[in-house]
Structures are given as structure tokens and as C-alpha cells.
């Protein structure tokens, strides 16, 4: 859309936007850096874990945004890859602790870099298989099929009694990364910030690349792209896999963060939440889903503080957002500036 092209342009208006954006990034970096210190200073260290959760969900929501926002593929099963990433960490730790082999030949691990990589590979493969099938359909069927397949993966983990079944799996200690004290919440927060920064940098390059442009074209008019000789199915499938890998990263972080994985991570309502984050913040924007994640996780925290029945309030809020904003809170601001969208 207009945003990516504006960045490449040379007119003064575009330059101002570029400057504003640079300043925004600097402010964001400073806030993220100072947050733990501030939280401790005001005597509210729970803010650090809250921020960690927001960052992890920001990664997951951004990964969904690649297909939902940029590609226009309404996937309602994204929590499956989030959960698979988490379970890879959980299962590898389980075999590390028991000192035996997964499937008889894969040793367990508690090394963060190894488990993270494994989570990316496995969730990417899961997305490859399920995506290849789901992408044979479009529109309504695609929504229902992604949901149904995610539900299938959910039941798979429920049935694996070895790994806790319904009750889930406890990861007694966070994975090891270099010599860092990962048990410390502030240290873990900075690990998450670093990974998120890397992730968003790669994401930014990706959506600005030829691949990203083709993906946007598919959303706008798939038939036309097919007509000029682009194999849209392949592009969509690659995007689906990349999105799955992103969710796997977030899931691996979440498993380490909460030291626990359970089928709850793959529950269909979790897919719904990820979708809400994307829509809330605005699809097809770099940081929209991150803002959506901050808003939704924040809202949940505030509302649960008020009442146990917070979903009774959240539900109508979602309905109002769907009915009265078109494409998220961010675009609400953008539209006021540029009515051409």
C-alpha cells in the first residue's frame, strides 16, 4: 500500500514521515531499554513480566499479520504453530530431563539456541503440510479449514499422555543461553526484546522485498497476478510457512517464559486472540499487530483486575471495533491524515 512506496519516495512529505518514523523507533528503543529499571524504581516489577508477555504476543501477532494483513489470507488456526513451537521446547526439555531419546534417536536439549531452532523448523514444517492443504481453498472455506486443522493439532497434543495430555508439560528451568541467568525475569525480558528486534528487522526487509510486494498484490487482485505469470499458490504457501515459523519462535519464547506448555496454547480462542491483535492494531502495517498485542494483553490485565467475567466486557468491545472501525486503531489515525485509504 501507500506506506511502503512513500518510504522510497523523495518528496519532502515522505522525508518528514521517514524522520518521524526514525524518531519513533528511537523512542521505542529507549522505552524498552528503560522499562525494567523504571518498573523496579516504582516498585512494580510485575510490569516486566507483563511487558515480556506483550512482546512475545507481538511476535506471534506480527507473524500472523504476514498472511492475514499483507496476504489477505484469513487464517483462524495460527495458535497451532504457536503451540507447536512451545511444545518443541517442552518435549526437548522433557527428554533432556529424563536423559532419553525422542522417537528413539533425537536427544533432548535445554540449550536455548538449539530448542529455538528446532521450534522454528518443526512449526515451519507443520505450516508447510497444513498450509499446502488449506491453501487449496479460499475465502470462507479457508477460514474454516485452518480452524479445523488447528483443532486437529490441539487434539493431537491432548491425546499425548506421555507429554501430560490435557494437563500440559512443566519446563522446570528455562533453557540456557550463553552464561546468562535466564531465571531472572529482567534478563529474560532483554532476551525477548533482542529476538523481537531481530524478528521485526527481518520482517521489515521481507515485506519491502519483491516477495512482500507480490504478497500485497495477491491480496489486492490474485487473478491479475496469476495472469502475469506468477504462481500465486507458491507465494502464499511460502508466506504461510514463514508465518508459521514466526509463531513457532513466539511459542518457544512463551514456553520458556511461563515454564509450562499445555494444549491451551493451541486452543482455537488463542487463534482468535492473535487475529484480534492484528485487526486491532491494523493489518499490513509493521508495528500494528504489536500495538494490538499491547492493547489486548493490557486490556485483559486491567479487566481481569476488575472482574472475573472480563470477557463479558471484552466481547462487546470487539463487536464495536468490528462495526465502527475499518482496519484497526492505527488506520483510524492514518485515515484522518490521508483520506485516500
Amino acid at each position: 500500500m501507500a506506506r511502503t512506496e512513500a518510504a522510497a519516495g523523495v518528496n519532502p512529505g515522505a522525508r518528514r514521515i521517514l524522520l518521524l518514523r526514525g524518531a519513533g523507533l528511537v523512542v521505542l528503543a529507549v522505552v524498552l531499554l528503560l522499562l525494567p529499571m523504571t518498573a523496579n524504581a516504582i516498585g512494580d516489577p510485575a510490569l516486566i513480566t507483563l511487558a515480556t508477555r506483550m512482546i512475545i504476543y507481538a511476535i506471534a501477532a506480527a507473524s500472523l499479520n504476514l498472511i492475514l494483513g499483507y496476504g489477505g489470507l484469513v487464517s483462524f488456526g495460527h495458535a497451532a504453530y504457536f503451540g507447536v513451537g512451545g511444545y518443541v521446547v517442552g518435549i526437548l526439555y522433557f527428554h533432556f530431563a529424563a536423559d532419553d531419546l525422542f522417537l528413539g534417536f533425537i536427544p533432548g536439549s535445554n540449550q536455548f539456541l538449539i530448542t529455538l531452532f528446532a521450534a522454528m523448523v518443526v512449526s515451519g514444517l507443520a505450516a508447510l503440510v497444513l498450509g499446502a492443504l488449506s491453501l487449496r481453498t479460499t475465502g470462507l472455506q479457508f477460514i474454516m479449514i485452518t480452524l479445523a486443522f488447528a483443532q486437529m493439532v490441539f487434539f493431537l497434543f491432548v491425546s499425548l499422555k506421555v507429554y501430560g495430555g490435557d494437563d500440559g508439560l512443566i519446563v522446570r528451568r528455562r533453557n540456557l543461553l550463553f552464561g546468562l541467568n535466564m531465571a531472572n525475569d529482567t534478563t529474560f525480558y532483554f532476551v525477548c526484546v533482542t529476538i523481537a528486534a531481530l524478528y521485526f528487522a527481518v520482517f521489515w526487509r521481507l515485506v519491502g522485498s519483491r516477495f512482500g510486494l507480490v504478497l500485497g498484490g495477491i491480496r489486492q487482485n490474485e487473478r491479475r497476478l496469476a495472469a502475469i505469470g506468477i504462481s500465486t499458490y507458491r507465494y502464499k504457501l511460502v508466506a504461510f510457512v514463514i508465518a508459521g515459523i514466526g509463531a513457532g519462535i513466539a511459542g518457544a519464547l512463551m514456553a520458556n517464559f511461563s515454564k509450562f506448555v499445555s494444549p491451551d496454547m493451541l486452543h482455537w480462542s488463542r487463534s482468535g486472540e492473535l487475529m484480534i491483535m492484528v485487526i486491532l492494531g491494523g493489518g499490513a502495517t509493521l508495528f500494528g499487530p504489536a500495538i494490538g498485542a499491547v492493547i489486548l494483553v493490557g486490556l485483559e490485565t486491567v479487566l481481569t483486575g476488575w472482574t472475573e467475567h472480563w470477557q463479558f466486557i471484552l466481547g462487546p468491545i470487539l463487536i464495536l471495533i468490528a462495526l465502527f472501525t475499518r482496519g484497526g486503531v492505527l488506520t483510524l489515525l492514518e485515515n484522518r491524515r490521508a483520506p485516500d485509504a
Binding site: L140, Q141, I143, A148, F155, F312, L318, I319, A322, L323
Partner: protein, 304 residues
């Protein structure tokens, strides 16, 4: 052998419930182009309406009426307040709004009725068993559910294929814009279809009451299976919904019935039971994948 017959009948009975939901859902998809996640909530409302009245009055007839009325009224309110504004919107916004509806209705039901599941007494006239073939008793109530479901399916078939309104419904499912262009009051048709879908969902819910525990979350469990039915049968096709529902209902029940015993010969009982539960839950999704590979539009697609 007798066990197999019993299981197949159980499967048909489950299939009938799925069909009642899928018929409404597939029409709402096909005609209005709306993905209604809250369809399971109408099932929930029907079940709660009937369960509460049955507990208070003890009358099954009144419970049926209450369940139907509750779901129909809730359906009309939902259509009027939310769905009506979503017709021209993206699927994303429809998903968001109806997801919000689910949260609202589920949490509302929790506030009003608590988390304890309600159990509904079987109506005395139907609580016995009938010998379907000599020596094989089968619960009367389940037979009644099958009968009602098949009757409704037949009635729906007559309505859609033999009446003028049904003709508009069929036309709406395949050529929505053309129907609109010919000057049909599409709004009224939409409300009618949504109300009908709500009524069928409520019927499925109230009939499920004496068989299952009535509790929050029952709607979503069956909703996702209904999606599978619609995908297998093809969006917009009532015939597809019927056969899809039967395929899913029977497969699911048979897998649940026979897989544990099969696996128990291979591993310890508790492990076998858990694995069988998981595999039988996954079975229908594998069938869906298979159908997709062969016919991506579903077995009886109404749209091209």
C-alpha cells in the same frame, strides 16, 4: 455385530444434530456471505432455554417450546444488532464481531447460570428402550432424535425445493447479486434465513440436553465440527450438509467406539484410551483433508 449397529445408530443421531447446525450455517454462508462463529451460541441458548424450563416445570413440551423460542429470539436480536451490519464487510470483521458475540454470550451464560453443568431429565415417555431387531434394545430417546432430525431434513428439502421462498433461497445461494438485481427484498430473505438457522441450531441444542451435560463451551465444540461438515459438503448446499453431517457423525462415533479396544491390544489401557481419544478426534479432520485433495469445493458445492 449388535454393537456395530448400535454405534452406527449413535453416529446417525450425532450426524442429525450436526446436520441441524450445518444446514443453517451453510445457508447463512451461502446466501448472506457471512461467517457466523456465534452459530454455536444459538445451540447453547436453545439447550439452556430448554434445560431451565424443564427443571422448573418438569414438562418436556414446554421445554421444547422454550428452547426454540429462546434461540429464535436470540437469533433475531443478533441478526438485527450485529449481523445486519456485517453483510458488506470483510470476513475479518465478521470473524472479529462474531468472536466478540461468543465471548459475550458464553460469559453471560456463566454469570447467569454458573459453571456447573445442567443435567436434563429424559422425558418419561421416551426414557425406555425399543428392540430395533429382536434382542437389540436401543434408547427410545435417541431414536426419537433421529426421527425428528430426518423429518426436519425432509421438511427442509420440501421447503427449499418446492416453495417459492425456497426457490429464492436456492437462487440466493448460487446467484446472490442476480436475486438482488431482480428486485427481491433480500433483507427480509436474510432475516428469514438467519431466523431459520437459529431455530434449527436451537432445536439441535435442546435435543442434545438430555444426552449431554448442558454447559458453557458446548457450542464451540460442536461449531468446529459443523465447520468440517460444511467444508466436506460444500458451502451453500443443504444436501451437502446432510451427507457431510452423516459422514462426520458416523465416522466420529465409530472411531470413538472401536479404536480404544483396537489400541488396547497394542499398549497399556490408559495410554491406549488417551491415544484413541486423540486419534478419533483427528479422524474427521483427516477425512476433510482427503475431501479437499479430491474436491476442494466440497462434495456438493452450490457455488463455483
Amino acid at each position: 455385530m449388535t454393537l456395530a449397529l448400535e454405534q452406527i445408530l449413535n453416529g446417525v443421531q450425532f450426524g442429525v444434530a450436526l446436520f441441524l447446525l450445518a444446514a443453517g450455517l451453510t445457508l447463512i454462508f451461502g446466501i448472506m456471505g457471512v461467517i457466523n462463529l456465534a452459530h454455536g451460541s444459538l445451540y447453547l441458548i436453545g439447550a439452556y432455554g430448554a434445560a431451565l424450563v424443564s427443571q422448573r416445570t418438569g414438562s418436556f413440551i414446554l421445554a421444547i417450546l422454550a428452547g426454540l423460542a429462546a434461540s429464535a429470539i436470540a437469533g433475531l436480536i443478533i441478526e438485527f444488532v450485529v449481523i445486519r451490519k456485517l453483510y458488506a464487510r470483510d470476513h475479518v470483521q465478521q470473524v472479529l464481531a462474531t468472536f466478540g458475540l461468543i465471548l459475550f454470550i458464553n460469559e453471560g451464560a456463566t454469570i447467569l447460570f454458573g459453571r456447573q453443568p445442567l443435567f436434563v431429565a429424559m422425558p418419561p415417555a421416551l426414557s425406555g428402550a425399543v428392540e430395533i431387531i429382536p434382542g437389540v434394545p436401543y434408547p427410545t430417546y435417541r431414536l426419537a432424535v433421529i426421527a425428528v432430525g430426518l423429518l426436519v431434513a425432509f421438511g427442509l428439502y420440501l421447503f427449499v425445493n418446492k416453495t417459492r421462498v425456497g426457490m429464492l433461497v436456492r437462487a440466493g445461494a448460487t446467484h446472490r447479486d442476480m436475486v438482488r438485481a431482480l428486485g427481491v427484498d433480500i433483507r427480509l430473505l436474510y432475516t428469514l434465513v438467519f431466523g431459520l438457522g437459529a431455530l434449527l441450531a436451537g432445536l439441535a441444542g435442546l435435543m442434545a440436553g438430555p444426552l449431554l451435560a448442558v454447559q458453557v463451551g458446548m457450542g464451540e465444540q460442536i461449531l468446529i465440527l459443523t465447520f468440517v461438515v460444511v467444508v466436506i459438503g460444500g458451502v451453500g448446499s443443504i444436501r451437502g450438509a446432510f451427507f457431510g453431517a452423516m459422514i462426520v457423525g458416523i465416522t466420529d462415533t465409530l472411531l470413538r467406539g472401536f479404536l480404544p479396544a483396537l489400541l488396547r491390544s497394542l499398549m497399556t489401557t490408559s495410554q491406549a484410551d488417551a491415544l484413541a481419544a486423540g486419534l478419533s478426534s483427528m479422524g474427521i479432520y483427516l477425512i476433510m483433508a482427503l475431501v479437499l485433495l479430491i474436491k476442494p469445493q466440497g462434495l456438493f458445492s452450490g457455488q463455483n
